[in-house]
Symmetry: C2
Subunit: 370 residues, 2 copies
């Protein structure tokens, strides 16, 4: 029997035009060489959201950002990674902070350039690469909507990538409704990715002693969960019932906290006084089963089983977060691939290959029309 | 066959001395009557950690704090609640912020007074009430350690309750090590409870539109998870290997994020440079299986199953969070009891009454010597 397709829906690539854009910048996000090795580093988070990166507090033994390995920008490295790990198809996306920092007057043109360049990279490997486009969110609404319409016609585009900031005021910003409506009408899902994490004050005065563990392991999923809960509470899934969102990192903490969130909603005096607790309201469970997909980047079988049980086995899609979580040794094997694949293997009984195949690729093929 | 004991390890009671203390205060935390109804309200979170409570932004339809129902302070209400819901034993604790606000010179005496008063309340109902004592954390270390020694001799005390703040600098504060050591040597577990949540900036400009949903449903568990992860990263479970912590709200998000936290640790360049990634290091999984217990206040069978799978069926203990999550109708039934009990029923196959009984009471009886 033929092996089912393995699809990676959470995998980043910075196309050359984006690398050039960041090299020219003086403020974060930027790419520049750092002493003593003068390796190129990508600094993409402001100091207030990082316990060390990009700040003067970082240990001199550690670069003040992410070292810009070839994996970050070379499409042949992506393919080599896919081949080594038996990934058939990748749906690539820009990493944070996408185009959110662009001046309003140039954001639209830069989005076209970067999306088109990404499309050309994808076309180099027919059937193997697709992408989530980047939106010029700082541009006027008409420009954003035009890029959504245009992306619909771009051959390898299968949705858009968006951070939790939206226009800077979060995903529950009513000004985003036209964007959500345009995406829903175009049947383009949002791949929702965290942006800057939480304010570094929450990591405490010893936060930087723990490197990037707190902002990466907790900041990102918590930011994602807050953003998604705010979005849900704003009623967007009633206003735009066809909105589809694929949430990075298995939804942050959303699957585990869904019961608590619903309990707090049911008991909230303010929501009750505002008449929002009607018996026919859309619950978070409804949203998770109708509007929300989760990737499988959770690094543990129990976490993955939780995601699958909450969202449904037809709504979780394997991902690797490549090129992050690089090999721990001199080899080529990325633990983020093997740990997350093994989690999927262990999440199901050995004879339930159907469920395993859905999570590893079947769901992505169906939802993203790959 | 006799029904196994049902034990509630997460249930709050404010003894009269504590109520009087808060009534005399002018700053948060305080208890005071609020117009128009002049009902007594408990305000226990500063405005910067609340999206509405205690601030001028609150809807006039909603009290600016928690209405101080009799459930909060009358021990006979606790017993009535237990009888109505078939709870045999409760291990009561003060709610946040405990005694953390006390002046250093009086904190010790107040702790003795409140702990002794709580003990007397428990003794009114032999075998049914125990408690986690409150520590005078603002007092000099010798006073704190003396109260730990003393509590060991107080008949109904079974551990201590502590917030995530510790001495104000978090649980990874090295100054807490003597406290942890004294607790471990006394075999007294910490019942760890969230305190103030997250800074309200993370809830966005529309946060108060959603009442208290964001700070309660997300702020509390996220604060708990951050505190526990910082504690773990500080190496306290190596320094004090017998420290035992019962984490409220099923660990916040810790069970779901444990895999991600471990992955981020393994990949952290700073921890690697600091020589902390030795092969014999205590992992978070080790800590969860040796030092950490979880309560069962998660409001969902999937969440509870996650907690059980991560910590082990012998390390999860039922709780209700009474008197919060009050009845939604005019009746006496608290959903936080029934939803969390039903979650435990649904978490196991129907014939696995042994596991159900462990979670509902057996673990608490064994661990807390009830």
């Amino acid at each position: 029997m033929a092996r089912s397709l393995v699809v990676d829906v959470h995998t980043h690539l910075y196309p050359p035009a984006y690398i050039e854009l960041l090299k020219e910048r003086k403020d974060i996000p930027y790419i520049r060489p750092f002493p003593p090795s003068n390796q190129l580093c990508l600094c993409n988070r402001p100091p207030q959201n990082s316990s060390a990166q990009g700040s003067a507090n970082g240990s001199s033994k550690v670069p003040p950002g992410r070292i810009l390995y070839r994996h970050y920008y070379e499409v042949d490295e992506k393919i080599a990674f896919m081949d080594h790990h038996q990934i058939d198809v990748s749906v690539i996306s820009l990493g944070n902070p996408w185009l959110d920092f662009m001046p309003p007057d140039t954001a639209g043109d830069v989005a076209i350039k970067i999306n088109d360049e990404t499309n050309e990279l994808c076309k180099l490997y027919p059937g193997r690469l697709f992408f989530f486009g980047a939106l010029p969110l700082s541009a006027p609404e008409s420009i954003i909507l035009a890029e959504i319409s245009r992306l619909k016609t771009v051959s390898q585009a299968r949705g858009i990538v968006m951070g939790t900031g939206g226009f800077g005021e979060g995903l529950d910003d009513p000004k985003l409704i036209p964007v959500y409506k345009a995406l829903a009408e175009s049947s383009m899902p949002i791949f929702l990715h965290p942006n800057y994490g939480l304010p570094s004050s929450v990591w405490g005065s010893r936060g930087s002693d723990y490197g990037q563990v707190l902002p990466l392991s907790l900041g990102f999923p918590m930011e994602t969960t807050i953003a998604m809960t705010r979005l849900f509470l704003s009623g967007v899934f009633d206003t735009v019932p066809d909105l589809q969102i694929i949430v990075a990192h298995s939804g942050g903490c959303l699957p585990f906290l869904a019961g608590r969130i619903e309990a707090c909603i049911e008991h909230d005096k303010r929501l009750e006084a505002d008449g929002k607790l009607t018996s026919d309201r859309k619950t978070l469970w409804d949203a998770v089963r109708n509007n929300i997909y989760l990737d499988g980047v959770i690094f543990d079988k129990t976490g993955l089983k939780t995601a699958i049980e909450v969202a449904g086995v037809d709504r979780v899609m394997f991902g690797t977060d490549h090129p992050f979580f690089a090999p721990l040794d001199e080899g080529k094997t990325f633990p983020a691939m093997t740990v997350n694949r093994d989690a999927a293997k262990e999440a199901f009984p050995e004879d339930d290959t159907e469920s395993y195949d859905l999570v590893m690729g079947g769901n992505a093929v169906r939802v993203l029309h790959l």
